[in-house]
Symmetry: C2
Subunit: 229 residues, 2 copies
DNA sequence: TATGTAAGTGTACAATCTACATTAATAATT
DNA sequence: AATTATTAATGTAGATTGTACACTTACATA
């Protein structure tokens, strides 16, 4: 019989997380140095196995929380990788997820305990299994997402300057953007609050701080806007 | 230990295929009337279980071939569905794939033998499990894809008229398109061959037939063009 | 008070998108 | 042979959006 549950093969299901972060040095991903075989000591995405009573989204959330201490983070399922020998120990299909986090916010101690570390996306070590491919696909998705949603605010501190936002988008898209055009496009979205406060670190003049206005954003969401940068 | 293969739970992995087709009546999906329990007699996507020695893409291809007899069909992985009780018999995670096929081309006998049937996307029966959701997500993806790739040629016969192409895109996007603007946008892509032959079915005057020019398309593919319809 | 640094701001031109109506070719009918 | 009915084919003007580009402002520091 074509569809028989009993004769079907079961497999291990893993979740691997591509965790993007941003700081003044640029766009980064969080990697972990494996402390178990195989490939012990090599760099890898953070991941884990799906449990019997768990949905994939929850597994991704749990794994992120385990390593960073963070909750309520935007995560998105990307793709299922199923090459037969992608994991040499046992047939494992892995579903990748990506997350965006503010590098300042996580629990640095946790990350240290797990031998995890932030790497610039353009200067990351070689990864185990098919994790390099997972990362490349996640970067593609991240780029696409920026054009459809004002994603990326997740990667900044609550208050940020236009320059920081610009540099974030430049890092994600890995191209230079025209400052004036960028600002007017962002302003035309009308989803930021300009504060009366200035950040004085960056210049003598100081630059205004902004916050992301979630209410305005939710309002606009219906007419799903595009952002052509 | 956090990552231990031996203690991890295995699950069944299924593949479900959303197969789109197009004819003069509009955009359709291929559904099957289940001949086994549970939900015997109800309508469902065609699907099957992943085998131990099989990659997800191959499973999707195999399943498509089983029911339609078709090979070499464009398929794309969509999403992994993992709700705990989505399948009442046993914990099953299902990965959805979508395919585009020309309704004329398949082996109609095979389809009949399997109690499969084409349904207009707006007039399809209620489906088992989470298959309705899968279909809705596939339609979204299909719409998105049309804007990035000149997908959809797969859904037409080899020789087609501009009107057929227009109606296909209208069916996919479920909105009316301006004929002149549509034609000039398609022409500006420069990926069609205009034949000297006319289709005389549709009108007294007859309308020119076109074929999709794969070479030109491959050439252009690098500068991934957008098609804003 | 002068100087240096990054912030903030507007415009003109180019490209693209949108809305829209007439003529052309032919088969069928008389 | 002429008329009619039907769908195919085609272009343009105006609106919108995107792009390239340079000077002034505010302030801290010397």
């Amino acid at each position: 019989m074509l569809n028989s549950y009993s004769s079907a093969d079961k497999v291990l299901l893993a979740v691997d997380c591509i965790i993007f972060g941003f700081d003044n040095e640029g766009l980064k991903i969080l990697l972990i140095q494996r402390d178990f075989e195989p490939e012990k000591g090599k760099w890898s995405l953070i991941g884990g196995f799906l449990k019997r009573d768990e949905v994939l989204d929850s597994a991704a959330t749990r794994i992120l929380n385990t390593y960073t201490g963070l909750n309520d983070i935007y995560m998105e399922q990307l793709y299922a990788y199923s090459e037969i020998n992608r994991d040499p120990v046992e047939r494992t299909v892995s579903v990748s997820y990506f997350a965006l986090i503010n590098i300042e916010n996580h629990n640095a101690e946790l990350i240290q305990n797990y031998h995890a570390e932030w790497f610039p996306i353009n200067d990351a070590p070689n990864l185990i299994f098919d994790h390099n491919e997972m990362v490349q696909n996640a970067i593609k998705r991240l780029r696409y997402k920026t054009s459809v949603k004002p994603i990326g605010f997740e990667l900044l501190p609550e208050k940020f300057t236009m320059r920081q936002l610009l540099e974030l988008y430049e890092a994600i898209l890995s191209k230079e953007l025209d400052k004036r055009n960028f600002i007017s496009k962002i302003n035309s979205l009308d989803i930021l609050n300009k504060l009366d406060e200035k950040d004085m670190q960056s210049s003598r003049k100081g630059s205004y701080l902004y916050t992301f206005n979630k209410e305005k954003y939710e309002e606009k969401l219906q007419n799903n806007f595009a952002l052509n940068l």
